[in-house]
Amino acid sequence: MTAARPAAPKRAETNGARWLPLANAGTVGVTVVWVGGATAGGGAGLWYGLSFTALPTWALAALVIGGVVLITGAVSGFEALRCRATRYRVTGERLELRSGVLVRSHRSIARERVRSVDLTADLVSRVFGVTMVVVGTGQQGDASDELKLDSVPAAEAERLRALLLRRTAPGDGAADPAAPPPAETTLLRMDWGWLRLAPLTAWTVGLPAAAVGGVFRIASEFGGNPVEVLMGVGPVRAAFGWAVGSPWVGLPLVALVLLALGALATTVLAVEYSWGYRLTREPGGTLRARHGLLTTRSITLDERRLRGVELAEPLPLSWGGGAQLKAVATGLKRKTEDGNETERDALGPPLPVDRAQALAADVLELPVAPTASVPLRPHPRAALRYRRIWGIAGGILLGAVPAGAAALLGWVPGWLPAALAVLFAAAAVPLAGRAYRSLGHGMGERHLMTRSGAYTRRTVALRRDGVIGWTIRRSPLQRRLGLVTVTATTAAGKGAYRVRDAALGEGLAFADTAVPGLLAPFLADARPAGRAEGSG
């Protein structure tokens, strides 16, 4: 269980140059469990599939067990080689990593450029007492400027994190590691009352839908029509017969049961994610989020990289008066090396709006968050018309085109495309209304504000000194309606935050006020008809 390595390095940073190994035994153990589990699952399926053939049982057992052992052994063996080949060290100035079985590589990053040290340990890793460490320099969000230690002992991970994020004089590697950790302030601690917001997500519908789809897939694996296969199962047939027998009670009840299962699943996932959630401000000028029941995560955000906050209110969450606070910061990558979307910018789980606003104020170190205090100016009614036009046109296309193609091929009745087009276009009208009511912009003392969104309403407070350029865009329809979309470009977050469909003069005045002097040389006062630019 314990790693085959000397006891935890004592003050390795003082002698500066000790190369340390990964937690070899633990890391390989994790691989054995994951790969063994996955291949055993696949092997069980294979066994079942082949049990219908003439193969004798002993041959089947040999094939499956041999396959599982062989694959697990090969992958784990390679993992062992990879671990043995990997060494890292922390010197006074740099973090260095040597790795590679066939092709050796030597990477190093300057300690003063380290902006984040994230720790992740899933359940298996925790059993083996190891943690994955990802050290990021927060440059421009791709995986090339991060260094991954997969994995080190849990205590070593904490030590590395504290060491690499310590804000002392550059090159001061000799700071006393035995000193008591300075006090940190807690900005947010999990309150289980917030769990009522957990089912308010599209996944509450999406997960049961995916599960039903999965059941059909598996049923069709058994050959023939999946409906017939499922009907062969006694309880399913009985339930279906009853539901069809009294459709006014049965069908809503089925939908309700599926929704309840979806709500249960999303709540369970939220408990796993939010367990022990704690957001703290550390003395070194970093924010740290720690959470997770099975997989524990520790994510760090350098406050010097913070350029603002975003308050996201997806439609279901807003029904329950909830919101998700996110950081707008430079170098917060959206993707990890594995290409997985991560939620590194999340500040807290979904919260009641008031709590989220209070947290925003704490994070920005202001008495009141700009997202709560700055009044937002609504956009011209023409923006509503613009949204209705595009919404209805999009709804008709979305409803009619795929169904129309299906109708031409004779798969669906001919009236369906028209019905769907009408339905979707009708649904677009209230959505366009919500999108219009979302629109707004405002100017705080230090932050500029913009809000928009049809399904997810996003209120962004962006530091005015974080704006590094403007893009002003007008479509033909916007020129007719006298609207403009003004985009502030920034190094943080999505890189561009839009004020959509403002009145032309207001949009330009907004940009001019937000960053004084930048736009002014290129502005002229309006001649009577404020029409399109540049085409004259």
């Binding site: 007008r474 561009a496 930048l518």
Partner: protein
């Protein structure tokens, strides 16, 4: 506009066009690009219509005719329109461009935030003696591009931009 909910101030701000127009040769370059897309787009269904039998052939020929007309209009209108819109200006403080034709865009990047300055000369562009200059900032969305510049002018512009950007203080984020 009449829909504005509040009485606007007497003099509303309004963007003025950047000082310098795009090179007249850019019209030829944009037209060549348009034809490089439009001609194959019409030619493929035309050949198909010639080869395919019966009703399918007729449909393909009809599609080719429609694409040919659309392509001809695009190649005739777009380059001239673009030339009227595309303008640029470089001051000591900022780079300012106007681009597009149907969808129009004005971009401003402050000199202090400029990170890199690149020149691009595609094969077609080279035949017209033109270059594009791209100015990037730390934003993933903030690159400013000046199309259709005379070679010599582009070289001079890159030199000047590089000098000014280096002189400007700050770490560009």
């Amino acid at each position: 506009m009449s829909e504005t909910t509040m009485p606007g101030p007497a003099a509303e701000p309004r963007l003025r066009p950047p000082r310098h127009p795009s090179d007249p040769r850019a019209v030829g370059w944009w037209r060549t690009q348009a034809l490089l897309i439009a001609v194959p787009a019409a030619a493929v269904p035309a050949v198909g219509g010639w080869l395919l039998p019966g009703a399918w052939g007729t449909w393909a020929l009809a599609a080719a005719a429609v694409l040919a007309v659309l392509g001809a209009v695009y190649a005739a209108v777009m380059p001239v329109w673009r030339h009227r819109v595309h303008r640029w200006e470089v001051t000591d403080e900022a780079v300012y461009t106007a681009t597009g034709w149907l969808w129009q865009e004005w971009r401003i990047a402050p000199m202090s935030r400029v990170q890199t300055v690149d020149t691009v000369r595609g094969p077609v562009q080279r035949r017209f003696g033109l270059s594009s200059v791209t100015v990037t900032t730390a934003s993933a969305a903030g690159a400013v591009r000046i199309d259709g510049l005379d070679h010599a002018l582009a070289r001079e512009l890159v030199r000047r931009l590089t000098e000014t950007a280096q002189a400007a203080p700050g770490d560009a984020t």
